[in-house]
């Protein structure tokens, strides 16, 4: 379920993209510092959104720097770091760990098991700092896997459980914005979960694995229906976003929420249409 929350670069100013990338590189560096290379490779774009969002909301002190990395050994990349890039890095590790566990349980991917165990070792300290958050997420994940096994579960239940996990991830501190961020995260999570279901629906039908869109797939207006549902989710998310007093990098965030977030959906849809014609 990674890699949905990204920008649409074509519609972005160069300067904005550089800022966006500097947060990405900042998180990457944070991961390496705290968790080593093993943590670094778990990096995904989703958490960059989180870091930029929280930075815009709270405007903490941010350090600018630059670094070279394995992927770009000859280029110097600007980095930005603050308490929220650190938070995003922590959440990244947490999520990667859950993802590995999930893949191991669902599909018995042994490498994922090994990697998951590695991450678990690295994330030991997180259990202390985020004890409350982790306990909540664990319970939700348990409900989630129970609900997935139960074929009668409907879209709102499954997507909602995932949404509540995202809601917890979005809230870095329990303050005056916690409720807004929870709601934002809740609908963002529902959106991502359903995008993922949309992408996998054919494969899940073939394999007989659970997918909440399965029953709708045979409907004539399946495409239309999916789009309506996804739009509904993301528009609720954006309604909450627009309430937040964010000025810094707000155009980057809007690029993600109004455009970039549809990138993967659009790619899948085009491929599917192409195949059908």
């Amino acid at each position: 379920m990674f890699g949905y929350i990204t920008v649409n670069k074509a519609e972005m100013k160069f300067r904005e993209f550089d800022v966006y990338q500097s947060y990405y590189c900042g998180i990457c560096r944070e991961l390496k510092r705290k968790y080593g290379v093993c943590g670094q490779i778990s990096l995904s774009y989703d958490m960059t959104f989180l870091a930029v969002l929280l930075t815009g909301l709270y405007e903490p002190q941010t350090l600018s720097g630059s670094c070279k990395c394995i992927v770009h050994p000859f280029e110097n990349h600007p980095t930005r770091n603050n308490i929220f890039t650190e938070y995003a890095a922590d959440m990244n590790i947490l999520f990667a760990h859950y993802k590995c566990q999930d893949d191991w349980e669902d599909e018995k991917k042994f490498l994922k098991y090994v990697y998951g165990r590695l991450l678990e070792g690295k994330s030991g300290r997180l259990k202390v700092i985020y004890a409350d958050k982790i306990r909540k997420i664990n319970l939700l994940m348990q409900d989630f896997s129970d609900a997935e096994k139960d074929n009668s579960a409907d879209i709102d239940t499954l997507a909602g459980l995932f949404g509540r996990v995202m809601a917890e991830v979005m809230v870095a501190k329990e303050d005056e914005w916690a409720e807004n961020l929870r709601r934002l995260g809740f609908f963002l999570g529902k959106f991502i979960y359903l995008c993922d279901a949309y992408e996998d629906v054919e494969e899940d039908i073939r394999k007989g694995t659970p997918n909440p869109l399965k029953l709708r797939y045979s409907n004539a207006d399946f495409e239309e229906e999916c789009r309506t549902i996804l739009t509904m989710m993301i528009s609720e998310c954006c309604r909450e976003f627009e309430k937040l007093p964010i000025l810094e990098n707000v155009e980057i965030l809007r690029n993600i929420l109004y455009s970039g977030i549809w990138g993967r959906y659009e790619a899948v849809r085009e491929r599917r249409l192409h195949r059908q014609t």
């Binding site: 490779i41 990697y115 309604r239």
Partner: protein
């Protein structure tokens, strides 16, 4: 009369950006974190709370305006003046998920209706309606789900849609609102509920038009990152956790 705009020192027709700027400037000055050593910190905190409340109220009014339909902003304003709207869904009452105030901030508009229309002969339907009007969506859900299949009339679907929406189940909410309308196509309440749910999407699409829809553009962005991910994947056991999805972007 209480005017949240004057608390932030801006005019009623200030743009969203101006509101946010004004809020930021004031909150920087009065935020408790910025007044730790201030001898008058109690006053500062009081002021901060006032600013916070004013800002939240303005934003609530403005965003409920987006949804149009149900009287939009007009409703928002009346509800905020001491809860004259009957739901007060924002308060976060025990029953709802985490205090969801309905989809667009409560359903004050329908309080009082329905009672005299003869729809609610059924006690359960009536109590579900009461729960909803008071923001107890979970209780409403339980009551509605406990009812017999054959008692599920248009009114049932209408309340069910609102309860679902209050609990964050927006897919079921839209379906049930449509169902209510298809059972009684002439009912204005049902029609406006459906419109309200659907308007959320059209508000979004209007804004979306400014940001361009991703088509081939996405490919460009990702070509480079696909390489990154591939490289990542090579060094981590052929497809580890790291954004393996990156590769799907051609």
């Amino acid at each position: 009369m209480y005017d949240p705009y004057s608390v932030l020192g801006i005019s009623r027709n200030a743009s969203e950006e101006e509101i946010k700027k004004a809020y930021k400037a004031l909150s920087r000055r009065y935020h408790p974190d910025a007044n730790v050593n201030n001898p008058n910190k109690a006053q500062a905190e009081e002021k901060f709370k006032e600013i916070q409340a004013a800002y939240q109220q303005i934003m609530k009014e403005r965003t409920s305006g987006y949804s149009g339909g149900y009287g939009g902003g007009g409703y928002g304003r009346s509800a905020s003046q001491g809860g004259s709207g009957s739901t007060g869904g924002y308060g976060g009452q025990g029953g709802s998920f985490w205090g969801f105030g309905g989809p667009f901030g409560g359903f004050g508009g329908f309080g009082g209706q329905g009672m005299d229309t003869g729809y609610e002969e059924n006690n359960y339907i009536r109590s579900a309606g009461n729960y909803i009007r008071n923001g107890y969506y979970r209780e409403a859900r339980t009551t509605l789900d406990g009812m017999n299949e054959r008692d599920r009339n248009a009114r049932w679907y209408y309340y069910s849609a609102i309860a679902h929406s209050g609990l964050g189940n927006n897919v079921a909410a839209l379906e049930h609102a449509k169902r209510a309308l298809s059972l009684e196509p002439d009912n204005m309440d049902y029609r406006s509920l459906v419109r309200q749910f659907e308007n959320g999407g059209s508000w979004y699409e209007q804004r979306q038009a400014q940001y361009g829809y991703p088509t081939s553009g996405v490919g460009n962005l990702c070509a480079r990152w696909a390489c990154t991910f591939m490289l990542c994947n090579m060094c981590c056991f052929g497809g580890g956790c790291c954004g393996g999805h990156g590769m799907y972007y051609y």
